[in-house]
């Protein structure tokens, strides 16, 4: 297994400074998953669900408060910087905003070469050009400044920067959300091509389910700091088990007027719950249509008192965290 997370937890002090018993807001609460080389995992969730925080923990931009992050079996969750060298070379991070992910004062050439220097390799023009080529940018791009490139080109440059050290895993945070529709398509195609050509593994975070499904084989749905369902792309869209997944699916607009207007919308009440320190029971229940409309009082006690954990559901690799996933 290439990368594995076990019960990763990361909290922030809640902004009101209130003393929760858990000492803060758990942005990532007991997340576990495993990723094999060459596989792709997409993480879908709405704002505030903790996906960006999870990514930052995975690439060790932040240190998780609890749990383990294993790279090729070795736990790196607490390692010092100098022990992370190899890890950093093999696991590269592509940030979200192409307009701020490249230093505006540096030529693209220098930007792309930076990871080479960081891992102690020589700053080689050849490698830079090769990386730019693989993302579809010609050598001309190396001599430009970031603001002289369009958004799509900038995002490619950011990916080139990640590729220049021949990594095994790319961690992408909302790679296309800041781009126009047609440009998104280019970048998504590029990601597919790169995977085929270099056998890269991806962990891709997005709030748009369609984007995730376009690139990833497996999908994890995240809500309030936890994974609530993990399954293959087909299962997620074809046989969603968790009520949140179903609501998410029903909310994604379909570019087909007849289908879009014909379908039934599952509307969630309220807002994504503000994260608070200690929650007993299921975090989704304040918005869960099953809880609010279908269950009787006795059935609800289960949801009130016991926080659901990921359990098998349906197919072998399909897990869901719900007491009543039907």
């Amino acid at each position: 297994m290439l990368l594995e997370a076990r019960d990763v937890k990361k909290s922030y002090m809640s902004r009101r400074g209130r003393k929760d018993s858990h000492g803060g807001v758990a942005a990532v609460d007991l997340v576990s998953f495993g990723l094999y080389g060459g596989a792709t995992l997409g993480i879908v969730g709405e704002s505030g669900c903790g996906k960006s925080t999870l990514l930052r923990c995975l690439v060790r931009l932040e240190t998780p408060d609890a749990g383990q992050i294993l790279y090729r079996g070795a736990d790196l969750s607490r390692s010092k910087e100098r022990d992370l060298r190899e890890f950093r070379r093999h696991v590269q991070w592509v940030p979200q905003n192409p307009y701020s992910s490249l230093d505006p004062r540096m030529l693209i050439r220098r930007v792309v070469a930076e990871p080479l220097i960081a891992t102690g390799r020589r700053d080689d023009d050849g490698e830079v050009t090769a990386a730019l080529n693989s993302v579809g940018l010609g050598p001309w791009a190396a001599q430009r400044y970031p603001h002289e490139l369009s958004g799509g080109e900038r995002q490619r440059a950011a990916i080139a920067r990640a590729l220049v050290v021949s990594p095994q895993l790319l961690v992408l945070d909302e790679p296309v959300s800041a781009l126009d529709v047609s440009v998104r398509a280019e970048v998504l195609n590029l990601l597919q091509d790169l995977r085929t050509e270099y056998g890269l593994a991806y962990i891709l975070v997005a709030h748009d389910l369609a984007v995730v499904l376009a690139v990833c084989d497996r999908v994890a749905v995240m809500y309030a700091g936890q994974f609530v369902e993990v399954a293959s792309a087909e299962d997620i869209s074809g046989a969603p088990a968790h009520p949140y997944t179903r609501a998410l699916l029903s909310a994604v607009p379909i570019p087909d007027p007849r289908a879009e207007r014909a379908r039934e919308r599952i509307l969630l009440r309220g807002e994504p719950a503000p994260l608070s320190g200690a929650t007993i029971g299921c975090r989704f229940r304040s918005r869960c249509p099953v809880y609010l409309e279908v269950l009787d009082a006795q059935a609800k006690t289960q949801c009130n008192e016991v926080a659901p954990t990921l359990q098998q559901a349906g197919g072998s690799s399909h897990t869901v965290a719900c007491h009543y996933p039907d």
Partner: protein, 653 residues
Amino acid sequence: MEPDTNAADGAAAPPAPKRESQLRSFLRHRAAVASGGILLLLVCAAIIVPLLWRYNYTQLTNSLNTPPSLAHPLGTDALGHDMLAQTARALGESLMIAAVVTAFAITVGSIVGLVSGYAGGRVDMVLMRFTDLIMTIPLIALAAFLANKAGSLAGPQWLHIAFVLAIAIWTWPARLVRGVALRLRSEDFVLAARASGVSRTRILATHLLPNAMSQVLVAAPIIAAVSILAESGLSFIGFGVQPPDTSLGVLVANAQGEMFTQPWLFYPPGLLIVLIALCGNFLGDGLRDTLDPRGAAMGALGLTRTARETGTPPAKPTARPLLAGPDIGGPGDALLSIRGLSVFLSDGTAILRNVSLEVGKGEVLALVGESGAGKSTVGNAIVGTLPRRSKTYGEVRYEGRQLLGLGFRAFRSIRGRAVSMILQDPMTCLNPVFTVGRQLREAYVHGRQESRGVVEARLVEILAIMGIRNPRHCYRQYPHELSGGMKQRVAIAMATCNEPGLIIADEPTTALDVTIQADVVDLLRNHCVKARAGMLFITHDMGLVAGIADRVAVMYAGSIVEYGTVEDIFERPTMPYTKALLGAVPRVGQAAGRLETIPRVITASRNLNGDSCPFADRCSVRFDRCAETPPLLPLGDGHYAACWHASSLAVEA
């Protein structure tokens, strides 16, 4: 289907952008250049005059209190000093002290600021507390005290004074640099560097330092201006430069009582100080515009001059006179009717070219396009919020009344009442210092006579209809207490409370989560149905369009390129851009295959001018006729496409 072209590999490089060297850019600031020149001149004068002039600054001549003459161009004082010599010496002293103070303050300040900002945490806190404490002590007081003590130390006097002043002044550049470092620390490119394993020192040196240094360079002349004002003030009260040495402040002190009797003693030193300080400020301004134009150093979202748009290129200016648009059809007395709308910026660029569309009562028209297509501009043109210096042509009629060119007063009766607009970002569209209730009331009350209580009850009811859980409480809350979804609902409440006939929704759900988006879109649709209001729904999301629109207008580079019912557009897309746009959208449930893309630029643009089809240079089925702009050609049943292939490519129903 169209061939799948991802022509970025191997395509010709886009033309090299014109890069202006920083020097050239700086030279365009006349005030800054003049200031720099003047300062240079003064420095030279301070050096050269004492060398060449026949009198020394300590020398006493026989002419006492004489006004300016050939022998003594700046006159003499009561003791017979030649004032030119004295002034030159004073100028030199003041400039030298200012320079040393600036150098010291900048060096120490930058180091402290960088360390504090980048290290963060406890180090930052301690350093900043210390800095704050120093900043609470009035500068002149501290300087006077220290200068007095330093008088007994060895070494040149001016150095002591410079040192003393620097101790008070370094705090400002420290705060400045700290601010820069803090901001940069969480910038994506710094995070990316850290994630790649770049060492902290390297990040400091390659990313933070250059950005911080430009800020420091901008601050330097201003610090120099502050220094010279401080030094002369100190010298004026007697604690700065001591006789027999002199500085500009000393000269003013000596001339206090003689302002009318011997003006040549009073005005030159004062005016010199003013001149130096002014030049310093202008120089700083000029440097700021050159080195740090509007957040370029911060990697802000604002695109600088040479950036290109992502999805669509900006519309090219057209030389041909504009034609009125075709008869779009649709219901005869449309609610909103736009014909031949064209908008040009002050520099001649066309952002809208000959746009025509119609919205009927109870109908939803979706305006789709990527960024730069001009869709928001259409909305702005309707409500009269286009940029000030733009030129507009054409007709925008609401219930027959021409809206273009209406003044603020005339628009007042229309905005918010007949036509209202919902903005994109709910986070910023509500005023943070007023309550929700007050802002709602303002929108609602104009022209009504009802009492406050009745108004409030009605507005609370509207909030409830919008789906706000606790409307009475929300009415009294401030915007920062609400979530994004709630804020957008409030915005919709404000836009609909007067039951306008036309609602313009400009990307109303872009900033919202997808589950909230579904809710909000439903809300809008229901309102339109119930109130028989027309809606112009501006978006880039084809999925949303499919769900809410009755008719669709697809925009590209400032023109409408396809127009028709929602079924026409989705099931029978004709214009190549529309087809590509539909093919580019990833769909849930679709097998993870390749998406359709639009090539960057296939053909060199030398054959294309403003008169050609705007999509021509990226179109895979371009042919000769495309050198002429296609109008919206009818395909039957109210479906139009601006493409010469229209007739031949129109797919059978």
